[in-house]
Amino acid sequence: MTQMTMISAIQNAHDLAMEKDDRVVVFGEDVGFFGGVFRCTAGLQEKYGKNRCFDAPISENGIVGSAIGMAAYGLKPVIEIQFADYMYPAYDQIVSEAARIRHRSNADFTCPMVIRMPCGGGIFGGQTHSQSPEALFTHVAGLKTVMPSNPIDAKGLLLAAIEDPDPVVFLEPKRLYNGPFDGHHEKPIVSWSKHELGVVEDDYYITPLGTAAVKRSGEAVTILSYGTMVYVAEAAVEETGVDAEIIDLRTLVPLDLETIATSIKKTGRCVIVHEATKTSGFGAELAALVQEDLFYHLEAPVARVTGWDTPYPHAQEWDYFPSPQRLGEKIIETLEG
């Protein structure tokens, strides 16, 4: 067991994957010598050489496109997009190519690769260092979409993503890199070194894609969350004193509907929370699924707490970022509804 941050857990997953499988190659902007602007690939070039870990030109389109070619050759590229907000030049390669190559070639060619990208807000990064574009990936047939919320899951899910035979978009909430964050920005920063989820198994292990985690069991209402919002949900539950069940989805596609259904059959109420904008956000998909499958178990309308439908702001960050208070109010409303 080693105390790890989310950064060192992700670095460790790369390390173990590269050690285990020499087809794993790692590249991206500033990823090689420097080890990434967030240091998630630190030391890999030194250990595995420039043949397997290297700096890329600033071309997200080039990074993803070349990774697809490498995957077609038989490698397992694990690539970094420096910020999720910079993935748009690569979107065509992701959506029209990586996602569909298996299907269109009848598995003549496949695309086993992981596209990592830090996402989400909470660092005063304004509109180009704060976005949560998960729904732009979950909407695409052929992609898997993952978002861990702690070091233990980050390692296990990244190793599972690297083993996966299909392209996986791996979103890393950067505000969680160094510690859990519950939305109370005025409070001192908590570090992973003081958290049980920062105590990580040294060996290789897998957290299977498509499995959610129940973070707190409860009877009154189910909160569906992922990424930073797991901690916002914990804070909201503590502050309202409601006996809520908190689910960390961990993987958005494929989704663990069974865990969701079991919970909602018990609570009869559901609140969904995410950082991303509301309209056509992943919460809309969740609400629709809950309604389709569990309508007769529901005692109140399914509620959503999300980022607003505006570009992510700089100075108004804490007006935008869903707070425990905003979530708490919605939980109470749902209980009364």
């Binding site: 030109p57 030049p89 005063f124 007006d319």
Partner: protein, 417 residues
């Protein structure tokens, strides 16, 4: 022979070529391979010359100031001593502003900052070659365009502080300014996007039979984005009235320029594949930057189409307030940079002209710093990111659309604004 090699059983296995910079931490910088032509050595083509007539200029470096501080050769232009003193002042203002804002960031008065140290001549001299009505499409490292263009520095600071007087209402990260009246397009955080937009703006000037020109800006690293390729194709095809600037400051965060440049000799030479006249200039030589900019602007305005200018310079500071370059490049590299410091070089030239002195310079440094400090005081009296009245959450909902649609109005009310 080639066939034999292809089928030979002894053919060596391939290995991936990854370029490496000359100087990593702990190593001694060595610029002995870096060829610097003598000042005055590069010819000056007529403004209607074709790309083919100046292929060499993409592999050389246009320089005006020699090592004794004299202005020599065909690119010596018409700047008077007073113009030069103004140029020196712009660069000194930019440097003082950088120093103060870096400190303010360290003090927590803003979230983030990006400085220009070592690159002041590029944006300060370029702006002087433009006319009102022209439009820059800048990156985050061209604040000299605003300073030399007369934009009030207090507004820049208000933006950096996201205070009540921030022209962008706290929406944008620090230094991502927008100033249409001053020919300065809204800066995007996404690298490269502005390059092709600049071409479109220039095409619009031609479509409307105007004489305005556009200036596109990108760093060495940013040239790898597809938008730059698109921009070169469109500019070449439609002979757009544009100056396409590439600021090669040797680094893109921790990545040296060779990763974006690859095996091409220079960034400027990219233009040859598109038939675009392409030149390189000493980016730390105020006189050379001005002369080349003026020539390229004249070409664009007179219908001779696009020009690519690569500025050879050095990013003397960190990438941003979040960056520590000692982790990836030799600490002595900046001091060894063979093209020197732009302020120092212009100062030497003015002294040479008997228009300036060391004493006058020291005095000017103090004056400029006082001036910037007092502007900073005014901005801070309005507020900083952590003091005063920050922009309201209401500002976040406004301006997404011209008219707020019902769903957003509903959300704004839900948010309590």
């Amino acid at each position: 022979m080639a066939d034999l090699a292809l089928s030979s059983p002894e053919i060596a296995p391939l290995k991936l070529h990854v370029p490496e910079p000359g100087c990593r931490p702990g190593e001694t910088p060595d610029f002995s391979d870096f060829e610097i032509p003598r000042a005055g050595a590069v010819p000056k083509p007529a403004i209607d010359a074709s790309a083919d007539d100046m292929l060499d200029l993409a592999f050389s470096i246009i320089r005006v100031l020699n090592k004794d501080g004299e202005a020599v050769g065909p690119w010596v232009d018409d700047l008077s001593p007073d113009d030069l003193k103004l140029g020196l002042r712009h660069m000194m203002l930019l440097r003082a502003y950088d120093t103060r804002m870096m400190t303010a960031q360290r003090q927590g008065k803003t979230s983030f900052f990006m400085q220009h140290r070592g690159e002041e001549a590029v944006s300060c001299a370029f702006q002087v070659a433009l006319k009102k009505g022209d439009m820059n499409f800048p990156t985050y490292r061209q604040a000299g365009l605003l300073i030399a263009g007369g934009y009030p520095m207090e507004k820049m600071m208000n933006q950096i502080y996201s205070n009540e007087a921030d022209p962008l209402h706290g929406r944008q990260m620090p230094v991502l300014f927008s100033a249409k009246e001053y020919g300065f397009f809204s800066i995007s955080g996404n690298l490269g996007t502005q390059y092709i937009q600049a071409v479109g703006w220039a095409m619009a000037s031609a479509i409307r039979h105007d004489n305005k020109i556009a200036a596109a800006w990108v760093g060495d690293g940013g040239t790898a984005e597809g938008d730059i390729h698109s921009a070169m194709v469109f500019a070449s095809t439609y002979k757009a009235p544009i100056v396409m600037n590439i600021v090669n400051n040797q680094w893109a965060i921790s990545t040296f320029q060779g990763i974006a440049r690859g095996g091409a000799g220079t960034f400027a030479s990219r233009g040859h594949g598109f038939g675009i006249p392409s030149v390189r200039v000493d980016g730390n030589d105020y006189l050379a930057v001005y002369a080349v900019a003026k020539w390229a602007v004249l070409r664009a305005r007179n219908g001779f189409g696009p020009t690519i200018i690569e500025y050879v310079t050095y990013r003397a500071g960190g990438h941003s307030s979040s960056d520590d370059p000692s982790a990836y490049r030799g600490s002595a590299e900046g001091a060894a940079w063979p093209l020197g410091d732009p302020i120092e070089r212009l100062k030497q030239h003015l002294i040479r002209l008997d228009a300036w002195s060391e004493e006058r310079h020291v005095q000017a440094e103090a004056e400029v710093m006082d001036e910037v400090k007092s502007i900073q005081k005014q901005a801070e009296a309005i507020g900083t990111l952590t003091s005063g009245h920050p922009p309201s959450g209401r500002d976040m909902f406004e301006g997404v659309y011209e008219t707020m649609p019902p769903h957003l109005l509903r959300q704004r009310r839900e948010a309590g604004y």
